[in-house]
């Protein structure tokens, strides 16, 4: 689904990613670990071009989205992202947060369909604006029910706990019906007692077959949920393996050292 070929990224003179190759298939749960500053976030953010790669290709559903000429917004609809600091829209209620992009995208598709209908004999069906909003609202409520936060639909993000915010952020990305969701340390900004509820939602997602790429320091979670673990260090993938072999039988010396520090 995502085919990363020789991905490079530098900030000015600093080369952060020095050539990353990885294939992410449908249903994969790829967990990325590595020391601080090794480029994990940068790698993840290149996958949906939040950072523009300085070299290499990212083939997503057959299109190289690293090419600056492609309309990245269209592809980002299919790539969800969950941030360490949630990044919920502070000026919108919970349900508006979830509905905003699905509604806007549907409306813009609707406009395009109307224009196409003018020029072609074959008329495609066009939903009314109210219908679009109604469908998306129902969908958003269903998603909220999934995380048990229906009663917060009309609350503003500032009134939620960290764990609630992150769960809302996850369903916000789900609302776009993405092919893959990227997680950048989704539990690092949470109080310890809220980490569990967020990991629970992510586990469920993984079970439902969602393709996920997760940067995390939660080794237990990585072992349990990951289908593949990737160790990024010094801008390259030093090791990539299934969870069992990765943790029980690491090969790379830097990984051995890293694991000895984080697995006490």
């Amino acid at each position: 689904m995502i085919d990363v070929i020789d991905l490079k990224k530098s900030f000015g003179k600093v080369d952060v990613l020095k050539g990353i190759d990885i294939k992410i298939n449908k249903g994969d749960v790829v967990v990325v670990i590595g020391p601080s500053g090794s480029g994990k976030s940068t790698f993840l953010r290149c996958l949906n071009c939040m950072e523009d790669p300085t070299g290499g290709q990212i083939i997503f559903n057959g299109v190289d989205i690293a090419d600056p000429k492609v309309n990245i917004n269209i592809h980002r609809r299919r790539i969800g992202m969950v941030f360490q600091h949630f990044n919920l829209f502070n000026n919108k209620t919970v349900i508006q947060n979830i509905m905003l992009s699905p509604v806007l995208c549907a409306l813009s598709d609707r406009r395009k369909a109307i224009i196409r209908n003018i020029f072609s004999k074959k008329k495609e069906p066009v939903r009314s604006k109210d219908e679009i909003k109604k469908t998306e609202k129902e969908n958003a409520m269903k998603l909220l029910a999934r995380i048990g936060l229906e009663d917060k639909a009309n609350a503003y993000p500032s009134t939620l706990s960290g764990g609630q915010k992150q769960r809302v952020a996850i369903v916000r990305s789900l609302a776009m019906n993405p092919d893959v969701i990227l997680f950048d340390e989704p539990t690092s900004a949470l109080d310890p007692e809220m980490v569990g509820e967020v990991l629970e939602v992510m586990k469920e997602l993984a079970k439902s077959g969602m393709t996920m790429v997760i940067v995390t320091h939660e080794m237990g979670f990585a072992k349990e949920v990951g289908s593949r673990i990737v160790f990024i260090d010094e801008g390259v993938i030093k090791e990539e393996n299934n969870p069992k072999d990765f943790f029980d039988n690491p090969q790379d010396p830097r990984l051995k050292e890293f694991l000895s520090k984080v697995l006490i």
């Binding site: 939040m50 917004n73 990044n87 829209f89 000026n91 806007l104």
Partner: protein
Amino acid sequence: MNFEAKINKFIEILIDYKGYVKVIEGLENTLKIAILGLVIGIVIGTLIATVRVIPKYKTLPRVLNSICTFYVGFFRGTPMVVQLLLFYYVALPLMGINLPSVSVAIAVFGLNSGAYISEIMRSGIQSVDYGQTEGGRSVGLSFATTMMKIVIPQAVKNILPTLGNEFIVLIKETSIVSFIGAADLYVAFNYIGSNSYEFMVPYLAMAIIYIVIVCIITVLIKFMERSLKKSDRRN
């Protein structure tokens, strides 16, 4: 003449000699110029501020940015009276355009406040956490949509007091439009004064009207601030 006589004289001209018609006309023009100027200024200012925060590694944003720098430099670097005179007596005649002085005043006030508001708006946009932009972009919204729906509404909330200040400045600055022959409050009260050969009371009345307008605006802004704050409150 004692003060009471002066007031009587003022009221006589105001009522019997239809001075109030001039005052109402002046008030109308003052409000028209300030309000429409502010609206135009907010539109221009928001556009410029948006151009200023676009990432600059493509050519088009860089060119737009230079144009905006020049624009802001011109309108902040010259007095508004000079801009009024330049537009009314130089630029428009050269282009062969003939506009009523009030329209020219509205345009110049809009262009001028656009320059100031762009700086206010830019600091407002920069006060909004960059995560908001990232959140918007990550769900597939374009830069423009993210700005319009997410960032600018929050920026406006942050800069509302400063924006209110700008409006108050505009209201008071309208007193210069008589330079191009537009009838504002100053012209109205000057008319009353010169008809009675007595300026003390008319100018005092003019000052009071300005103060009342400014007080009303201040209250309105407080009210708007409070209603916009609802997303900050825990409920």
